[in-house]
């Protein structure tokens, strides 16, 4: 791995984003707006005294789900373009190492993801007064990690699509099942055995578990550490698999 090439790739991807202000605006603003929609959705909720708002639970989970979804889409399409336009093949004839390319990509989008998470978390805290026990820093960290997870999965999935149309079709295959099973609609321990088993191998489940840990405990717990490690493991696994899909030579 060569840090210079990795950094050049990261800067190049950021530069491409900079030249596309509309996409940047969408990345930064859309999760915050959707959060507002969820807030208003539960606005007329009748609460018994002492009962937490549904928004506190659902809104918090969204801080993990939105970045994951957005970054998955953005990355898989960007990477697909790289494959289709011939720039990938060209790059692979240069001395660049595959890891430089993938990590450069992941880093650039992670920077975007961090900004996105900061905006969304700030809105959740300061505009909608979300109330959770733990430190907001943990929320941002999990949120960034889910975004990176989306990036890594997107890099991987782009290998299995040949057109942008197909790439978008991976959304319902890869992202929606994770949203259904992550514990947003039904707590994971209340699902039937099969679905719970499936949810155990889906990375987004650990993001939501981690967010719940932060919500319920003022101090970081052992379970939170575990969730973070599992997510990091998934990121590395996806990047590793993605690097296997980058072939310098075609048959």
């Amino acid at each position: 791995m060569n840090l210079k090439m990795m950094w050049a790739t990261c800067l190049r991807v950021l530069m491409q984003l900079k030249n596309d202000p509309r996409s940047v605006a969408l990345i930064l603003v859309v999760p915050a707006i959707l959060l507002a929609v969820i807030y208003w959705l539960y606005q007329n909720e009748v609460l018994a005294p002492g009962q937490p708002r549904t928004f506190d639970r659902v809104g918090l989970m969204m801080l993990g789900i939105f970045p994951f979804t957005v970054m998955f889409l953005v990355t898989s399409i960007t990477m697909l373009r790289e494959r289709v336009s011939g720039t990938l093949e060209r790059l692979l004839t240069t001395p660049i190492h595959k890891a430089d390319l993938l990590v450069g990509y992941a880093l650039a989008f992670s920077i975007m993801a961090a900004l996105q998470s900061l905006v969304a978390t700030a809105v959740a805290y300061w505009v909608f007064n979300i109330s959770i026990s733990g430190n907001a820093g943990w929320v941002v960290l999990i949120s960034v990690l889910t975004a990176v997870l989306g990036v890594a999965l997107g890099l991987l999935c782009s290998a299995f699509a040949t057109t942008e149309f197909q790439a978008v079709q991976f959304m319902p295959v890869v992202v929606i099942p994770q949203i259904l099973l992550c514990g947003l609609f039904v707590a994971r321990n209340q699902m039937n055995g099969i679905l719970e088993a499936v949810s155990n191998v889906l990375p987004l489940s650990y993001a939501v578990d981690g967010l719940n840990e932060v919500a319920q405990h003022a101090d970081p717990t052992r379970a939170l550490t575990f969730d973070l490690l599992v997510m990091a493991g998934f990121v590395l696994l996806c990047l590793l698999l993605a690097s296997l899909t980058l072939r310098r030579r075609s048959a």
Binding site: K4, N19, D20, G86, T87, R90, T93, T94, P95, S250
Partner: protein, 277 residues
């Protein structure tokens, strides 16, 4: 049978009888003198490439002299791009051997020394001309000044801040060229670089290629426009995945019995078909 194409010996026989019955074999014309000469850049022996079940290249043998322009010519679908991709190391082959700059094709150490310009323009449309060239330059450790020089070399200095996607077709393809030039490769491989360019630009580019060869770069340029062949030192004539001949433009004119290179090539093809049938 082997389609070994070599520059004919001074008293050489044609690889196949000439059915048109003209122009007896003539002595090989020496390559233009005064060029940098360091032997052979590419040596290909009995190369066979299969894509799927199709045998795209069949038993090719030839060599590319250093510091010269070699034009790879042939009709669409003759295997030009596959041959180029195999030489730069992105296409696997099933038989034969390729030595590029003294190493096997695809060798990791070759990546910094070969410039490859694909047929489709492969640059980032959403980056400026200079940003594109700087990025590809960074892969070979080139400086900002190198990038500026490469942009100037293809005549895009004045519009170097414009987005590549906003340029005209001719300018766009020159961005791709600049991205390959920036690393000052020893071997520059260009797949149809002049396609869709106007005559003035084409002449311009060929003048540039000639200057580069004079400076010691080895160039392999594919084209399906036979008129361009006149600019090259050596021609590789490809048809149906086989190498018809390797010769100089003058030899092609003589063998094909026409000053018109296109017609000469056509006659060679007809001669080959006559042998095959």
């Amino acid at each position: 049978m082997s389609h070994r194409a070599v520059l004919p010996e001074p008293d050489g026989q044609l690889p196949f009888p000439h059915p048109l019955g003209m122009s007896p074999p003539t002595p090989a014309l020496p390559l233009k003198p005064g060029r940098h000469d360091a032997g052979t850049s590419v040596r290909v022996e009995n190369l066979t490439v299969r894509r799927g079940r199709m045998e795209v290249l069949k038993d090719l043998s030839f060599s590319i002299p250093s510091g010269h322009i070699t034009a790879l010519l042939g009709p669409s679908g003759s295997g030009k791009t596959t041959l180029i991709r195999t030489l730069v190391g992105v296409q696997k082959f099933v038989g034969g051997s390729i030595e590029v700059l003294g190493r096997p094709a695809g060798d990791a150490t070759l990546r910094g020394e070969i410039g490859y310009v694909t047929q489709a323009v492969s640059v980032y449309k959403d980056l400026s001309v200079l940003e594109n060239v700087r990025y590809f330059g960074a892969m070979s450790g080139c400086s900002h000044a190198d990038a500026v020089a490469a942009v100037a070399a293809v005549g895009l200095a004045e519009i170097s801040r414009r987005k590549a996607g906003a340029l005209s077709g001719g300018q766009f393809s020159r961005v791709s060229l600049a991205c390959a030039l920036v690393s000052k490769p020893k071997l520059l491989v260009l797949d149809e670089p002049t396609v869709g360019l106007d005559p003035v630009l084409r002449a311009d580019l060929w003048a540039q290629f000639t200057a580069m060869a004079a400076a010691g770069t080895t160039l392999l340029i594919s084209s399906h426009v036979m008129e361009e062949a006149g600019h090259a030192d050596t021609l590789l004539l490809l048809r149906g995945g086989r190498l018809l001949a390797q010769l100089t433009p003058a030899q092609l004119r003589q063998r094909g019995g026409s000053e018109n290179l296109e017609l000469a090539f056509l006659r060679l093809i007809q001669a080959d078909m006559a042998v095959a049938s």
